[in-house]
């Protein structure tokens, strides 16, 4: 029983990270209808920036807002400089450019900070609560992701900019007619996705350790969450992220073939199964396309 409870808590804690990645992916998908394969590497790069600031002796409470701000600017810059000029280029071109970004960020991080694995301190310190059932870091992870998600919900529900971003994603032509600057809304979406990714990166780094390839599997779980919840639904993506976290941990514990180390194939099975049997995901809506 205690094992089950522990695995559930671990699942929810890592699920929060997957939810953040899934949300970041869905935000960009809704804006430009492409999957950002470089999302994980953007988050990894942000985490390295945070690590560098910590190494310079900047206090933790300052590092997080600074990293988020830098990531936001970086995300906007990538959209403006790399993605926007592509315009309506075919899917293949977009995918190639994303893979190009992936390769650049990955090896640039290795070039600047080396490929060795680095420990990353937790912002919440060591130690655990409830007799070792849940670590301080896990409590922090759950608290931070919940706060981020609630804030984002409020932002998209109640603020002018948030509503503008939703309108721009939903119907660009009409949004433009009522005076929303659609191009900048998309750039803003990229900035926010990068910022959310940076938080996810900082929270997961103490667990998976910091290295240029650390986000590849996290991104895959994020994709699995986004697909499970439905690529057209941010709420669904968040739910899917948590689901994937829980499924991953329970399967790793109770299915002997998989074991604790090799849980990644679960993500592949989830993605292919959902895409084949219910491509819209649990919460997504069917998109009808005119021939």
């Amino acid at each position: 029983m205690e094992l089950l409870a522990q695995q559930l808590i671990t699942g929810i804690a890592t699920g929060g990270i997957y939810a953040c990645m899934a949300l970041a992916v869905v935000m960009i998908y809704q804006a430009i209808h492409h999957l950002n394969f470089a999302q994980g590497e953007m988050a990894m790069f942000s985490t390295f920036i945070a690590w560098q600031m910590l190494a310079w002796g900047v206090p933790y409470w300052l590092v997080i807002p600074l990293t988020v701000a830098i990531s936001f600017v970086g995300g906007v810059a990538i959209e403006r400089l790399v993605i926007r000029p592509l315009g309506d280029a075919p899917v293949l071109s977009h995918i190639v450019v994303f893979i190009g970004l992936f390769a650049i960020l990955n090896s640039l991080a290795g070039f600047i900070w080396d490929f060795t694995i680095k420990p990353f301190p937790s912002p919440f310190g060591e130690g655990s609560q409830l007799g070792g059932l849940i670590s301080n870091h896990q409590i922090g992870m759950i608290a931070v992701t919940m706060t981020v998600l609630v804030m984002l919900f409020a932002f998209f529900q109640y603020t002018r900019v948030g509503l503008g971003m939703r309108a721009a994603a939903e119907n660009p032509e009409s949004a433009r007619l009522v005076g929303i600057r659609v191009g900048w809304m998309i750039a803003l979406g990229w900035g926010m996705a990068a910022a959310i990714g940076s938080i996810a990166g900082i929270l997961i780094a103490p667990i998976v350790f910091l290295e240029p390839n650390m986000m590849l599997s996290i991104l895959l779980y994020g994709f699995a969450g986004a697909v499970l919840g439905g690529l057209t639904s941010p709420t669904g993506a968040v739910f899917g992220g948590f689901m994937v976290g829980i499924i991953e941990n329970l399967a790793g514990t109770y299915i002997p073939v998989i074991g604790g180390e090799l849980k990644l194939p679960i993500a592949l099975v989830l993605i292919v199964t959902v895409l084949v049997f219910k491509p819209t995901g649990l919460f997504g809506r069917t998109v009808v396309q005119r021939v």
Partner: protein, 350 residues
């Protein structure tokens, strides 16, 4: 579909090209074919002479270049000819490599016999993966194959397969000697084997593209609905394209395992799939000879970049990929065709 029609067609299938693009004058077209043919023969002569002039390490590198070219040729059949996208061809390469290694290591099968075996296994695996992929288009297919590529190293570490794959340890393979007492060292012999397989693969691919099946594959790429109404079984041809493409990549993987003499799950990291896509894009999507240039690019450019600084090769890849998408989305093939077109136009004006 996602690939525009101008990328289609080698010099050999004038008909297909002519029906799609502005009609070039027949005289100019034949002169282009002549130039291409002469270039092909020159390349072949260089290819045959190279192993007698190069050192063993360079021969090894050239062999790997040809192997990558075969794999990219397979990817090109899927993406360039059939319009489906795959970020996961590293997985088929790995399946081919493991099939060959296990057959040699556990069953003592001769290395040449492992090539058709690896091809068949990969054809089946690719065909089966193509079945669910049928329902996926564009972005979704990229996502599914991306997942496949990322998961590949872990799949081969799973405990049920450990008996065959030796898990993380990997499998060591002995290098075959040249048969019949030929005066060749093992490196030279493997180079010629690879060259022969590569030529065979290229000829088969060209004939496939020029055949009825090839036209059906291209019709599915250009307009699936129209193709279906013309009586093309789109589902069958899409799965078939996946199977054939995986077959090519699997044979390349088997050759790779024999030449490198060692495989382990971590040899088939996501970077391998990225490299194959890079090679495809650099060589030119839809232009079959481009595979050779793509193979040369992914074999030699990282080496040069790594010499400058470790970790730079990925950045070089990335920058070149993005720049090519802006400037020459048709790759080297497109550049070459444009250059030849300009040449023949000038000669006609004279």
């Amino acid at each position: 579909m996602s690939i525009d029609t101008t990328t289609a067609g080698t010099a050999g299938e004038k008909q297909a090209a002519a029906s799609q693009t502005v009609l070039p004058a027949p005289a100019a077209a034949t002169s282009n074919v002549k130039i291409m043919r002469a270039a092909g023969i020159a390349l072949l002569v260089i290819g045959l002479a190279a192993p007698f002039m190069a050192g063993n390490f360079l021969i090894f590198q050239l062999t790997m270049m040809l192997i990558y070219a075969i794999a990219i040729l397979g990817l090109n059949i899927l993406t360039g000819i059939n319009g489906q996208f795959s970020l996961g061809h590293g997985a088929f390469y790995a399946v081919g490599a493991y099939t060959a290694a296990i057959l040699m290591d556990q069953f003592g099968v001769g290395y040449l016999w492992t090539l058709p075996a690896a091809g068949m296994v990969c054809f089946i695996v690719g065909f089966l993966f193509g079945l669910p992929a049928l329902r996926l288009e564009g972005v979704y297919l990229a996502l599914a194959t991306f997942a496949l590529a990322v998961v590949t190293p872990q799949l081969f570490k799973l405990s049920p397969f450990e008996h065959w794959t030796s898990g993380v340890m990997g499998i060591v393979i002995a290098k075959p000697d040249a048969p019949f007492g030929l005066p060749l060292n093992p490196d030279q012999w493997l180079y010629f084997v690879t060259l022969a397989v590569g030529l065979l693969a290229y000829v088969c691919a060209r004939n496939l593209v020029g055949s009825r099946t090839g036209r059906a594959l291209m019709a599915v790429r250009d307009n699936p609905i129209a193709a279906r109404s013309m009586g093309v079984n789109t589902a069958l041809f899409k799965s078939l394209a996946f199977g054939v493409s995986a077959l090519y990549t699997g044979v390349a993987g088997a050759l790779g395992a024999i030449v490198v003499q060692y495989i382990s799950p971590d040899s088939f990291h996501f970077a391998l799939s990225v490299a194959l896509v890079v090679g495809l894009v650099v060589g030119g999507v839809g232009w079959l000879p481009g595979a050779l240039f793509g193979g040369a690019f992914i074999m030699f450019v990282p080496n040069i970049a790594e010499e400058l600084s470790k970790g730079l090769s990925g950045a070089v890849y990335g920058v070149i990929m993005i720049l090519m998408m802006y400037a020459v989305p048709t790759g080297l093939g497109g550049l070459l065709k444009a250059a030849l077109g300009a040449l023949s136009k000038r000669s006609m004006n004279r």
